[in-house]
Subunit: 336 residues, 2 copies
């Protein structure tokens, strides 16, 4: 089993690579080669299954060399994030659109049909969401990022229909808790709030407590990516683009869950200075119903408590604070 | 006013070029230069406004030379048709997708914002149409042709939203009456029926009399393309992709209109040998309602009689047969 991860050095990529190395198998087959592609690759473990390819995904010749020995599964995660892609159009066009199209082209020319797990985005829906969303909602992207993600979905869907690439796109929400760094994501506040609360630092939240968003931890996201790679093709039918189930929570609900783990007294460290334009973009998400995705085995974090646990892994702290451990049942808790 | 027409040698392109030369103005401004781009260009009139560029739209350097002196309006018509694009994927990918993306890229780098009228297609909806369609219908293409058209719509919409290209996409149905030639169009029977009836030749129709389709003459199509180029930007609002109003007619209704012009006796020349797969693709179209497009001034042929007149221009024959001329009122007749 030869696997390629694009954007391997990224936030989700690193968690995915660690997971694949730990489990060592995918679809019951041992992973012989795990190829990491990214502009830089730092602090990956020494492991003779790893191959490091330092370079750009938009380097078609590099991609061709990587795929020359054949490939079974590709996790295509790399992207220029939304804010950066909007500001630097050419960069987003090159990476988010053209590199993805080139990858699809090269995959369809592989002798054996490869599996492609594509990290798409809820940005394909655009800012005007219906009062209650479901997984069949209309797409109407209004940023270049979402437009390019949608275009790649359409291309992937077409090649999957033609039977040339076993394409499986999943639409991701903002994933938490990203490292605190300038990363071009206007939704970074969602991660920053979690980190600040966990660290016991003051934090001024740029959206109101009533702001609602879609949440998912990196751990849960990787669960879904791996599941999508393993699910039987027949279960997918002719659907090649899937909306992940999403946890719909207000900032207040997330703070409640954080306070339950890290202590009520930390609430006072959080202040609010809502930015109207940011709240309009990231603070008015309706509930998302995704029964088909759930039936396929895709999952969200289950609850605000599950989100905090998965995103921040506060188990040591939790035990010290004498708070009961979360039961496995949390993950079965339905909130969507 | 400098205008470029891609696919100028094609069925719609030729009618459009003739129209532009005849009217001589667009948006009230005289047309100084009309650049024709196509793989071949034959039988265009001598006219000092015409510039002939023989070559492929996917030749980026040629495109750059064409646009070097600036451009005001582009009619982007060229495409590898549906059947051919499905069979020869690489060709459709190159022309229908990549050349269109390259054109958009070059247009967004023009110093003055150019207008782009893009001939998209009802193929973006895919084969599973709702019982009653309207202009807000969901897209779900299931051929590479429709997938690539949809991807270009999304790209155009994004650049129009960014204010970098004044993009205006219109979704065309099958246009009649195309010259009778092998052209890769599985919907060619729609044109062939009209030609055969007009010529008084026997014709075996590959769909049943009950088969319903969306119809538009080349004349009406060009009316719409020119209207779309002239309509004020403020009237478009933030909508950059438009469904044309469509005439929804059964084969039987079209034959009735043909018989009224060319004589009842010709009905016996038409036989039927329905091909189930062709009828499934092109013979079960529901009505299409497009009130917003009509409000914008876009039009269909008005009636089956109007379609036959516009598509075949049978006025000479009509007069000889003593049939009354159609009144201008025909065009206002509502059938959608």
């Amino acid at each position: 089993m030869r696997i390629l991860v694009t954007g391997a050095n990224g936030f989700i990529g690193r968690v995915l690579v660690q997971r694949l190395l730990t489990t060592g198998v995918l679809s019951g087959k041992p992973i012989s080669t795990l190829i990491l592609l990214d502009k830089e690759l730092s602090d990956f473990p020494e492991d003779n299954r790893l191959r490091r390819s330092v370079g750009s995904v938009s380097d078609a010749a590099l991609l061709r060399r990587i795929l020359a020995d054949g490939i079974d599964v590709v996790f295509h995660l790399v992207s220029v994030p939304g804010g950066a892609a909007e500001q630097h159009y050419a960069q987003g066009y090159e990476v988010n659109l053209q590199a993805s199209l080139e990858l699809l082209e090269q995959l369809r020319q592989q002798p054996a049909i490869p599996k492609l797990i594509y990290a798409s985005s809820v940005a394909v829906y655009g800012p005007s969401l219906a009062g209650r969303m479901d997984e069949t909602a209309r797409t109407h992207p209004e940023m270049s990022y979402g437009s390019h993600k949608l275009m790649v979905e359409v291309a992937l869907n077409d090649l999957a229909r033609r039977g040339e690439v076993d394409g499986r796109a999943v639409r991701l929400p903002g994933i938490v808790a990203r490292p605190r760094a300038a990363n071009g994501l206007r939704s970074a506040f969602m991660s920053d709030l979690l980190h600040a609360f966990a660290a016991g630092e003051p934090y001024c939240c740029p959206v109101s407590p009533q702001a609602t968003a879609w949440w998912m931890s990196a751990r849960c996201c990787v669960d879904n990516l791996v599941h999508m790679a393993q699910v039987d093709k027949s279960a997918l039918g002719d659907q090649h683009v899937w909306q992940l189930p999403l946890l719909h929570l207000s900032i207040a609900q997330v703070i409640d869950a954080l306070a339950a783990v890290y202590g009520e007294h930390r609430r006072e460290l959080i202040t609010f200075a809502p930015d109207e334009s940011l709240e309009a973009l990231f603070g008015r998400f309706p509930a998302m119903s995704a029964p088909k995705a759930r039936a396929l085995g895709l999952r969200h974090d289950g609850s605000a408590a599950g989100l905090v646990r998965n995103a921040l892994n506060p188990s040591a702290r939790t035990r010290r604070a004498g708070v009961a451990n979360y039961s496995a049942g949390d993950l079965a808790h339905e909130t969507d």
